[in-house]
Amino acid sequence: MGKLLKADFFRIIRSKLFMIVCILTGAFPFLTAGLYYLVIKIMKMPGMNTSGMQVNLLTGRAVVSDSFLLSSNMGLLLPIFITIFICADVSNGTLRNKIIAGRSRTSIYFSHLISSSVISAVLILLEVLLFFGISCLILPGHYGAAIDSEEIVNLVYFFITGLFTFIFSAAISTALSLMMKHTAPAVIVTVVAGMGLSLIGQILHVADPALTKKWLCLIPTYTNSGFLSSGKFETVSFLLGILSYLVFGVLITVLGLMRFKKADLK
């Protein structure tokens, strides 16, 4: 497994697509926070009528929390990158080389899953830290001022949930890529799955907050949506949210692995 991971990371680092993803990851916080900053400046210009507009939503906290959604920039970029990366292994035939060299299908699957998860986690953390730093510098309100201890706890919860969101997303991308093998359909289905889950989480939360408080945090991606509207995490919801990611992530991985182990490879 270690050797396969080494091979996969070698391939990722040598990939031009990975360089593009890194550049975009670095650029998104500057672009988004910069845009927020400009809008605030414009709205504060003399003679601007801002009645009915919620300037207080344009905060560092908002951009940081938005970046963890699967329907956000990174929520689209990372699954697309992972899917292309894994499908290229199939289409180049290098996946075949691994099997001919005697690597088990289980270790190939987990090598892809782990490398995808690690890349997702590193890039999303990098992006969020940049968001956080830039927000502290240029945006007013949350993260433009001092952060209290309660907000630090919220941030820790939120970071952990965000990481699980993207590892869960990597599990979906890995399973779909190795099941479908063809890049274009796999990318489309991966994006639709991520967007769909994100939307389901948000819609269910809006539909019945009382019910969702109890049970719907078991649906992956719901917890993030809850945090976005309420502004803080409850420990039970947080733990149930993590549990849901684990349960669904394991389920998708088992299904993907079973299918991959049985498949005849070209």
């Binding site: 070698f10 075949r96 099997i99 005697g102 088990s104």
Partner: protein, 335 residues
């Protein structure tokens, strides 16, 4: 003819084996390293491969011959673990296998050369080393490239997507031999190569075989298999029709006699006489040449034509080639 090829290469041991047609392997013994037992692969109701029983001995260059869709690639995919047999089993190095082959004793190219197109040659070899869990220095990697006819200095940092097909094939072979395998499976290695590429590929295979590597090669290009293989397996519609030593094939019988005439009219007249004859009726006319199939005595043919007052330009005996043998067998199979 094939024996002469080995002699030209200076491979006297191998040439002798091919010439006398008795010894099947280049190695010191007939250790069987691959044996399939009733190996079958069924897709829905159709058998892609049906009850194949074949053996490959250490040191063999075993050629797989068959038409498109005959099942050659399927057998290679079964052996490499890319697909699972629906019936039967196979033994590799004496061990029964059902899935991936552990350790690096087997390597191969199946269908297409598998390379990362956005990496250069050295990076591709490094990647293959990571997959196989081996460590090689840049100098060793450059040497492997040189061994397959790629100049590391001239290809430099050129990525594989800018390589010609021949260069890709060579790099594919390099990524196979870098693993120091004992058995190499090559599926259509001559595809897309130019004449020089054919010769280089052949030389590489023979050179590696001399180092002790056993080969299983599938190809449509029967004349190339004839030149390089010491054993041939004929496969048609998923069934292994026959396994034969190429040396035996060449030494046992004359396959055909080619008679050239000065004009097409004379050839046609001779053809009519052959048809009228009871003993020489297996002939094919093509322009000014008649091909007489079977092991007819050349003196009888000349005497026959002289008795009919027909002039001939030249007469040549041809050894049975793999192609002749394949056509004969497949025709026999199809009735």
């Amino acid at each position: 003819m094939a024996g002469m090829y080995y002699l030209l290469l200076g491979d006297f041991e191998h040439a002798n084996e091919r010439k006398d047609g008795i010894t099947l392997t280049t190695a010191e013994n007939n250790e069987c390293i691959l044996e399939t037992v009733n190996l079958s692969k069924k897709y829905k109701d159709v058998y892609a491969v049906h009850n194949v029983n074949m053996t490959i001995n250490k040191g063999d260059i075993y050629g797989f011959v068959g038409e498109n869709g005959a099942g050659k690639t399927t057998i290679i995919r079964l052996i490499t673990g890319l697909a699972s047999p629906t019936e039967g089993t196979f033994y590799l190095f004496g061990e029964e296998r059902s899935g991936a082959v552990k350790n690096r004793r087997v390597a191969g190219i199946v269908e297409n050369v598998s390379l990362n197109r956005s990496m250069n040659a050295i990076e591709n070899l490094k990647y293959q080393c990571y997959i196989c869990g081996i460590t090689k220095t840049n100098e060793e990697l450059a040497q492997v490239l040189a061994d397959v006819g790629l100049d590391p200095n001239s290809i430099g940092k050129k990525t594989v997507k800018n390589f010609s097909l021949g260069m890709r094939q060579r790099l594919g072979i390099a990524s196979v031999i870098i693993q120091d395998p004992e058995l190499v499976l090559l599926d259509e290695p001559m595809n897309g190569l130019d004449p020089q590429g054919f010769v280089d590929m052949r030389n590489t295979i023979v050179r590696l075989n001399r180092k002790g590597i056993t080969f299983l090669i599938s190809s449509h290009i029967l004349s190339e298999l004839d030149k390089v293989c010491n054993r041939i397996g004929l496969i048609s519609k998923g069934i292994l029709l026959d396994e034969v030593s190429v040396g035996t094939l060449h030494s046992k019988s004359t396959a055909k006699t080619l008679i050239d005439f000065d004009s097409a009219e004379e050839a046609a007249a001779a053809q009519r006489q052959f048809y009228a004859s009871e003993h020489l009726n297996s002939t094919v006319l093509s322009d000014k040449t008649i091909t007489v199939y079977g092991s007819a005595d050349i003196n009888d043919i000349i005497a026959f034509l002289v008795s009919k007052n027909i002039r001939i330009s030249s007469i040549n005996l041809k050894e049975k080639t793999v192609e002749d043998y394949y056509i004969e067998k497949v025709r026999g199979q199809n009735g």
